[in-house]
């Protein structure tokens, strides 16, 4: 374990000494919970409509697919006209686009970023390498099935997908959200133990809490 994660005694600016256990003190200890739909159907539909029209993407380019994000942000393809925009922090984002292969090292960061996002949240896997490993099917350092580690709502195929394919994928995601079928976050909460077991199977130096909230 890294030195900064170990339990230690810290002296505050007022001279009082206290104990810090980073893994317990800096994070919420409770596991994620399932978000039930609103009691009245029409209210839930209103919520889903609002969710579908404000897709905010987390600006984390995990792989090569990130290069096609830039054209989408600019006037040629202009994803902003669909209510899609990019945000720098997980707390403000509700869509995590896994843009391509995930090495084990990035998977760890991707899990942290995903868990820090607030509900409702969605995951889109971009490119063949998120689906079955793609070009890197025999690589020792990339995961082969993204949906074993994060709850994927939608895959966009291609190596790499064109911006038009991404736009079509986002439209499809909107349709899923409005139909109430983009339930990835709830699936993650329901099968939390299963996801964690899968994640820990590949991430060998697990030096973070089980739920990074």
């Amino acid at each position: 374990m890294k030195e900064e994660l170990e339990k230690r005694v810290v002296k505050g600016p007022d001279g009082v000494e206290f104990e810090v256990d980073p893994l317990r003190d800096y994070y919420c200890q409770s596991a994620p919970t399932v978000m039930p739909p609103a009691y009245i159907k029409i209210v839930e539909e209103l919520f889903n409509w609002a969710r579908a029209e404000s897709i905010w993407i987390l600006g984390f380019g995990t792989g090569c697919g990130a290069i096609e994000m830039r054209p989408l942000m600019t006037p040629r393809f202009d994803a902003y006209r669909y209510g899609i925009q990019w945000r720098p922090t997980p707390r403000q984002a509700n869509l995590f686009v896994i843009s391509g292969y995930l090495s084990v090292k990035t998977l760890k960061r991707a899990i942290r970023s995903y868990e820090q996002m607030q509900n409702p949240k969605y995951v889109v896997g971009l490119g063949s390498c998120t689906i079955n490993g793609g070009m890197y099917w025999d690589s020792y350092n990339t995961i082969k099935r993204l949906d074993d580690y994060l709850p994927v709502d939608l895959y966009i195929t291609g190596c790499m997908p064109r911006p038009e394919a991404l736009l079509a994928g986002f439209q499809e995601l909107k349709r899923l959200i409005r139909a109430g079928q983009a339930e990835g976050a709830n699936r993650y909460a329901e099968q939390f133990e299963w996801y964690k077991a899968n994640q820990k199977r590949v991430i060998h130096d697990w030096d973070m809490p089980d739920y990074n909230w």
Partner: protein
Amino acid sequence: MHELHERLKAIFPLGELTVQRPDLAFITLGREHLRPLLLELRHRHGFTHLVLLTAVDWIEEGCFQLTYLLNDRAGARDLGLRVMLPREGASMESIHDLWPTAATYQRELREMFGIDFPASPGVDEPFILEGWRDIPPYRRDFDTLKFAEENFNQRPGRATLDPARHMRDRLHPEGE
């Protein structure tokens, strides 16, 4: 290149010279002569730029080949120095004091091949891999496909065909 080789040979016991192109040659030498030769090349012959430092695993012969590729920009020529190390407990003298950037290469070689460079800064810190438990992955005896199949869940339905066999079956379905 031959002229340079003759001049160097007068000072150092050098192995064979392989001229790949008029502007690129490789010389094999013993590990104890590497540092003086690097200094000689850098200060007397204009080879000031360390292009790369990498290793080749000759597992059949039980040795690693370290390649130090130097570039002489004014003379538009490159010289690769080959140093053979035994594979067991491979360790080599660090050259980070000659080229600070060599420390990065040495860190990578330490991690990917398991070749030690004592006293090179940060050489024991993980560089690219994280939480790696297996043998260093660039070694020839590390089987990446086997590792991937054992460690990662595969999505069913993916078929892998051997190109040569596949083409033969397509072109000569009845068999030869």
